[in-house]
Symmetry: C2
Subunit: 227 residues, 2 copies
């Protein structure tokens, strides 16, 4: 059974990057990038991540195992347009996905075939369609929502996400782009309930994987007052 | 060596209560309360919490052990005025703290002596003073910042917090009062770095305890681009 999964590195206060960088300035010099590199540092150090990027070195660790496992579990990806655009040049001829990637965008574009099994198909009729197309080719493996945060939030808000894994990095950023924010469109006294599936941790990051149960009312529980 | 500690139950998106309830309406019926009771449900179910409140029942569990340990580690408390006011009636003649509590407030008031070792001393010259006064009587145990969230954030922002334990509850709330927010006053490309000390988890909550290292610049780390 194909699951729809997402994982994201976030600060302790829930940011996956700094305040959004606008305009033509140097992204690498932006506050968005500084925070992004802080919360993804653990991954950049991990052998499994470096191997996928074609980089040498890196550490074999629980963190690396988590990355390897997530790469191997994915039979297809769904990705936001901004992430796909930003990655196109640095990922180069052989991107790290090694599977079909469905990019949610408003701009039609022919499918881009890359080496190593990665292709980018541009989907213009919405998130749910991209998830369906990815499921159809995932070969029984998972559909991984690769990001960015806006897309992960949209998939969660639409009730399409089965599992969410947060890699919680021990830093407080105070500001930036938050994965879980008001755009989820939850009602008053409504929450999205989850069930913890697994917790792994190192000195650099705590990996918490949840199954998403779905929206539910927040029921009053005042046993603390009634004794 | 007396440490200054804080712990708080938060949703996966970092809220410790719903949107702040204003006015004279029924707090128990508010969205603030509905979310507060959701994120503290694990504690209300725990034997160690119920014992301290003089309530019967509850479950013996890892969650209960965490509560017991935190109560026993505290030699004195610092508390915000709103929490102290809200608790005065429900805590009754024998509040659960069994130690001196220093309430940060603008309104002078004589110290309130309660049964079982709890006293409330009203401190009008600021957070740092309240922490100092609590340290002086903690008898080598910890000074626990009892809450609410605003006070915990102030103590963290002031660089006075040694340890922070979050009890992360598997629910997304989307809105409400957030423990870690922009009021921390962090600069651009600045974070508060922490070190994980302990992770415990049950089906209901993940307890993550951190040592606070302090403010540090976010250094550019672009090994992910340079290979």
């Amino acid at each position: 059974m194909t699951k729809v999964t997402a994982q994201m590195s976030v600060s302790l206060d829930g940011f996956y990057a700094g305040p959004r960088h606008e305009g033509d300035g140097d992204w690498l010099a932006s506050a968005e990038a500084a925070a992004f590199f802080r919360v993804t540092r653990w991954a950049i150090s991990a052998m499994a991540w470096r191997e996928r990027q074609g980089f040498r070195g890196g550490e074999q660790s629980v963190d690396s195992d988590v990355i390897r496992e997530n790469f191997e579990a994915a039979g297809a990806y769904v990705m936001g347009r901004r992430m796909a655009d930003g990655g196109e040049e640095p990922w180069g001829e052989e991107p790290p996905f090694r599977a079909p990637v469905f990019v949610v965008t408003h701009r039609p574009r022919p499918t881009l075939e890359r080496k190593g099994g990665t292709s980018f198909t541009y989907v213009t009729d919405g998130v749910a369609s991209a998830v369906e197309q990815a499921k159809a080719v995932a070969g029984g493996k998972d559909v991984a929502v690769a990001g960015g945060g806006t897309l992960v939030r949209q998939v969660l808000a639409a009730g399409l996400l089965d599992e969410l894994e947060l890699h919680v990095v021990p830093v407080v950023l105070g500001t930036g782009m938050r994965l879980l924010d008001a755009e989820l469109g939850l009602g008053e006294k409504e929450g999205i309930e989850l069930t913890p599936l697994r917790v792994l941790h190192t000195a650099d990051v705590t990996h918490v994987r949840y199954a998403v149960k779905g929206r539910a009312p927040l029921l009053l529980d005042d046993r603390g007052r009634n004794g």
